[in-house]
């Protein structure tokens, strides 16, 4: 009788039931879509941060450049009239220097799981000819009395420690040809080349690439993570230190915390171990991210969240009002049932059951709407960009300390619908049904049977 009565009653007020279910479905669908979009934006942000750090990196340690650190190339071209020159030097990319012993110090901290050092450099090739009259500097200009025609080319080089390939600048990329730099190659002239650079420079595994004065054999091609622009060439750290005349020096330390909850503690420990160094965590970097990804994040977490809450509240309210209205029309019916001996509890169960069915149908429809909307958003939203400007970034130029360069990453937004989001949304729809049913039930049973029977429909 319970099910028969319930289904017949819903069929009688089918339009109203569908209207209520649709309202709940819209609210549920919006919750799912916003949650999925927020999740996708978070994933995008993680991608951005990973690209800046490398996989597994929670903290980076750098140092602001001083006058004598990572300094200018000091090009000097003495000579007589019509001299041709060609120089290739490795210079630090606008970062101060840290010692290799600093890496050990960081690695030994309690909340640190691992630490590796890297040397982020620019390979500057400077060639041309000049007429006598003085020396010429780099891009900063020369002294009076001389003139010349020069070409300058540069590409980025990072010296990586092959001892730990799960951390550091190469960790976020994928080796698509050959292999990465192994521990046995730590002192060899081998290189891994970025796939885009390899294409532009016509390099492949087995090719030779010149870094400063050294010829390196390409042993692997790496494809950077989505939208990431990283170094063009990776060589063993020891070789980079030698070529850049920076023995036992690094300019970036990549740190992995013992656990996700230890990042702050690890950062604090590193700061204490290396006073004067710049210690940056992913949350620090996240706060510096600007661009459409950042805007999307704000949109999803603020406007999106409150919009979903508002729509759900309106849906709950409408469901309650309409359920109460429907029950009011049946007051005499319920009075008759009470006259026949139906308990208030049985009547409440009937009303709640009807509201619950509407809630479940609304939830199911909402899940479908949520999935569809998430798919549409993922299909139509353009790639989002994230820009961050920190001292961690490579700068161009000739090794002079420069203002921190902006680093832009492009991310295609995914809108993944998670099981937990679906479960939450369905629970909300059912809750909406129960809330509406509660109001309706209260209306149904609060009257004495005599009063209920006296009502004129």
């Amino acid at each position: 009788m319970f099910v028969t009565y319930l289904l017949r009653e819903l069929r009688r007020r089918m339009r109203q039931a569908i209207f209520i279910a649709l309202g709940l479905a819209l609210g549920v669908g919006l919750v799912i879509t916003v949650t999925a979009a927020a999740s996708g934006v978070s994933a995008g942000q993680r991608t951005v941060l990973k690209s800046l750090y490398g996989v597994g990196t929670d903290i980076t340690v750098t140092k602001a450049p001083t006058a004598s650190s990572g300094g200018g190339p000091g090009f000097r071209f003495g000579g007589s009239k019509g001299t041709s020159v060609s120089r290739s030097v490795l210079v630090s990319g606008g970062l101060g220097t840290l010692k290799s012993s600093d890496v050990t110090a960081v690695d030994s901290q309690k909340d640190v799981s691992a630490a590796v050092g890297a040397l982020v450099l620019n390979d500057l090739k400077f060639s041309g000819s000049f007429k006598p009259g003085g020396s010429a500097g780099g891009s900063g200009g020369g002294s009076a009395g001389g003139s010349g025609a020069f070409n300058a080319n540069s590409f980025t080089v990072t010296g990586v420690d092959p001892a730990d390939d799960s951390l550091g600048p190469l960790a976020s990329g994928t080796i698509v040809s050959g292999h990465g730099i192994t521990s046995s190659e730590a002192h060899k002239n081998v290189a891994v080349v970025d796939s885009d650079y390899a294409t532009s420079a016509s390099l492949k595994v087995g090719s030779t690439v010149t870094v400063a004065s050294g010829k390196f054999t390409v042993v692997g091609i790496v494809r950077a993570a989505q939208g990431v622009t990283d170094a063009d060439v990776y060589i063993p750290l020891a070789r980079a230190q030698a070529l850049a005349s920076m023995p036992s020096e690094v300019n970036t330390i990549y740190v992995s915390a013992a656990s996700a909850t230890d990042v702050s503690a690890a950062a604090s420990a590193v700061s204490r171990a290396l006073p004067g160094a710049t210690v940056t965590t992913s949350s620090d970097l996240a706060s510096q991210v600007t661009g459409s990804l950042s805007s999307a994040s704000t949109l999803a977490s603020n406007l999106g969240k409150w919009l979903a809450v508002m729509v759900l509240a309106v849906a709950f309210g409408l469901a309650s009002i309409l359920t109460v209205a429907a029950v009011t029309r049946r007051v005499r019916e319920f009075g008759t049932l009470k006259a026949m001996g139906w308990t208030s509890r049985r009547i409440i169960r009937q009303v709640m059951g009807e509201a619950l069915v509407i809630g479940v149908v609304g939830g199911a429809a909402g899940v479908a709407i949520g999935y569809a909307a998430a798919a549409v958003v993922q299909a139509v939203v353009p790639p989002l960009t994230a820009t961050t400007g920190t001292a961690n970034q490579r700068s161009g130029g000739f090794g002079r300390p420069t203002a921190a360069a902006a680093h832009t990453v492009s991310v295609h937004l995914t809108v993944p619908v998670s099981v937990s989001a679906v479960a939450l949304a369905v629970a909300l729809a059912i809750a909406g049904g129960l809330v509406a049913g509660s109001f309706g039930s209260w209306r149904a049973v609060r009257l004495r049977p005599a009063d209920a029977l006296a009502r004129v429909v």
């Binding site: 009653e9 019916e333 008759t336 001996g341 139906w342 049985r346 004495r448």
Partner: protein, 249 residues
């Protein structure tokens, strides 16, 4: 048997109080058929609702087989209604979304009767009122007289001791009225019911054993006039009210 003693019922109405019942004393024996007649608004339906436990008196006692309905908790009164009291209403009050059979079954739901037995008893009850072939019809597909028959079946399917009918022919034409009253009379005779009928129609009231005249909340009982439609005592054994009304829900 019913014993009412000094029953009053007052309703607040704005700044005044309406005295719907003013000290009603009444005894209804097992198997009696009492008709309560009177103009509209003089307390007939109020008295019937108090007899059925649908409302509580402001003062006085309403004893049904020794138990004072006025003092019972809501749950207990509900159980009494479920097991022992059948109702018939002027507007039939059938559930519009349920078939005739399902409407009759609703009276058995609180008694915990199994679905199979419910169907069987409902089917029989409809057959007893001549609607065995209308079991699957919705109320909207039945005439007024047929709907009232379904309501009678619903009231009697649980084999109550008491049948309370509030203007059972109020919404019916003359011919159908006579049919329904004849049916009620027949069922009363066959089953030895204790029946109370509220009506403003003298021709309906005359069918009862006794007539109570309700005027401004006061009840005066007189025997029915002898006539063609006046009932005789039930031929069969009287249906005795159980001495204890046990909960079956």
């Amino acid at each position: 048997m019913y014993e009412l003693c000094g029953v009053t019922k007052d309703y607040p109405k704005g700044r005044t109080t309406v005295h719907a019942l003013q000290g009603v004393d009444l005894v209804i024996e097992d198997g009696d058929w009492l008709a309560i007649q009177g103009p509209t608004g003089h307390g007939k339906s109020t008295l019937l609702q108090i007899l059925g436990g649908l409302d509580r008196p402001t003062s006085g006692s309403v004893r049904l087989t020794g138990r004072d309905l006025a003092k019972l908790k809501e749950k207990e009164i509900t159980k009494v209604r479920a097991a022992s009291i059948g109702f018939i209403f002027q507007t039939f009050n059938l559930i519009p979304t349920l078939t005739a059979q399902e409407n009759v079954e609703t009276a058995l739901v609180p008694l915990g009767v199994s679905p199979g037995e419910r169907k069987e008893r409902a089917s029989q009850a409809l057959a007893d009122v001549g609607l065995g072939d209308r079991a699957r019809h919705l109320p909207s597909e039945l005439s007024g007289g047929q709907q009232q028959r379904v309501a009678i079946a619903r009231a009697l399917v649980k084999r109550p001791a008491v049948l309370l009918a509030d203007e059972p022919t109020g919404n019916l034409d003359e011919g159908t009225r006579d049919e329904i009253m004849a049916l009620l009379g027949e069922l009363w005779r066959q089953r030895g019911l204790t029946m109370v009928t509220v009506t403003h129609d003298s021709s309906v009231a005359r069918r009862a054993q006794r007539i109570g005249l309700m005027r401004e909340g006061n009840l005066t009982i007189r025997p029915a006039e002898n006539g063609d439609d006046s009932p005789v005592s039930p031929a069969g054994p009287r249906h005795a009210l159980p001495t204890t009304l046990t909960a079956l829900d």
